[in-house]
Amino acid sequence: MEYVYAALLLHAAGKEINEENLRKVLEAAGVTPDEARIKALVAALEGVNIDEVIQKAAMPVAAPVAVAA
């Protein structure tokens, strides 16, 4: 999932998720980037609303034990 983490890192940093940026981040993490996968990822993420996805993932998972409320 390195590629997706790299994409999310760029997104969180406010940077564009493009081939160039992904390549840099992956290399910094010691990963030799696979060009085909980078291209595919950039293409696939086009049209994905990442903020929305993150929002969905952010649901706190904490539940009370004995409540009434």
Binding site: M1, Y3, V4, Y5, A7, L8, R37, A40, L41, A44, L45, V48, I50, V53, I54, K56, A57, A58, P60, V61, A62, P64, V65, A66, V67, A68, A69
Partner: protein, 291 residues
């Protein structure tokens, strides 16, 4: 009352004595209650209440006399509720409890033409033991969804044939009896109760216990919320207060992405869920073996 028969005089005296010696005086209607159920009721209330069946006129006189002798004018108003075959029920039982007891001790009884039902009469859907015959037509005439199936009369679905307060017709009585449905209730009908200067009528006395249960729960929830939201600790709420503080702190740390032993799982979980959700949008060949 110069020419009043001796037994009547004694009867009124006795009734007056009973009325004067109990704090709670109820008028009940025993009309239509057979002797046997009445004696069962007497057994049920033995030691807790006295039931005196008498003539309405004598009961009226006794109530008014007792009211005068006790100096309780409100008691006299009880006489206004005499109807049917009235009887006096004298007890210590709180009027609301008494009403509940009387209602609970009613038993179902078969339909009688001319009788008024106190509850909706529902004919349940399903097969019946009735063989095909003219009754089916009569049922259909009343709107009952009856049909012949496999040689028996079957009711297609639950059907309310008479609303509460309605009068049973001769035809309906025949149908209900054939179906074995008992829409009437036999028991002591409470007309009114006097206690402590107040005359209570059935409309007031019919309380819904579930409403009180709800109120109790609501009151408890109010207390719980007040205690936890103001952090005023009690034995019952201290755990919730700690949990609230902990969860609040944890949620803030997670939201801020501040990793601690307690938040690492949630924070990583968020990141991971985001990755997994995004991965769903990706073509299969992009995903490595870990997916």
């Amino acid at each position: 009352m110069a020419h009043v028969a001796e037994w009547k005089r004694k009867e009124v005296e006795e009734l007056t004595r009973v009325i004067k010696s109990y704090p709670v005086i109820a008028l009940v209607d025993v009309a239509g209650v057979p002797a046997y159920p009445l004696s069962k009721m007497r057994d049920k209330f033995r030691g807790k209440a006295i039931i005196r069946v008498s003539r309405n006129t004598l009961i009226e006189i006794a109530i008014k006399r007792a009211a005068q002798e006790l100096g309780k004018p409100e008691l006299a108003k009880l006489a206004d509720y005499i109807q049917g075959g009235a009887a006096i029920l004298a007890t210590d039982i709180n009027p609301f409890k008494l009403y509940k007891l009387l209602e609970e001790s009613k038993t179902p009884a078969p339909a009688k033409p001319g009788a008024v039902v106190t509850k909706d009469v529902v004919i349940p859907g399903g097969p019946t033991p009735i063989a095909p015959g003219p009754l089916v037509g009569e049922m259909q005439a009343l709107g009952i969804p009856a049909r012949i199936e496999k040689g028996k009369v079957t009711i297609q679905n639950d059907y309310t044939v008479l609303k509460a307060g309605g009068v049973i017709t001769e035809q309906l009585a025949r149908i209900l009896n054939a179906l074995g449905i008992e829409p009437l209730e036999v028991g002591l009908n409470l007309l009114a109760v006097y206690e402590d200067g107040i005359v209570y009528t059935p409309g007031v006395l019919a309380i819904d216990p579930s409403e009180y249960i709800n109120m109790l729960q609501q009151a408890y929830v109010h207390a719980f919320n007040l205690s936890v939201n103001t952090a005023y600790p009690t034995k019952q709420t201290i755990e919730a207060i700690i949990q609230k503080a902990f969860l609040g702190a944890k949620n803030v740390a997670v939201e801020a992405g501040y990793v601690t032993k307690e938040t690492v799982e949630d924070i990583f979980g968020r990141a991971l869920r985001a990755v997994l959700l995004i991965a769903q949008n990706l073509p299969g060949e992009l995903l490595d073996e870990k997916t």
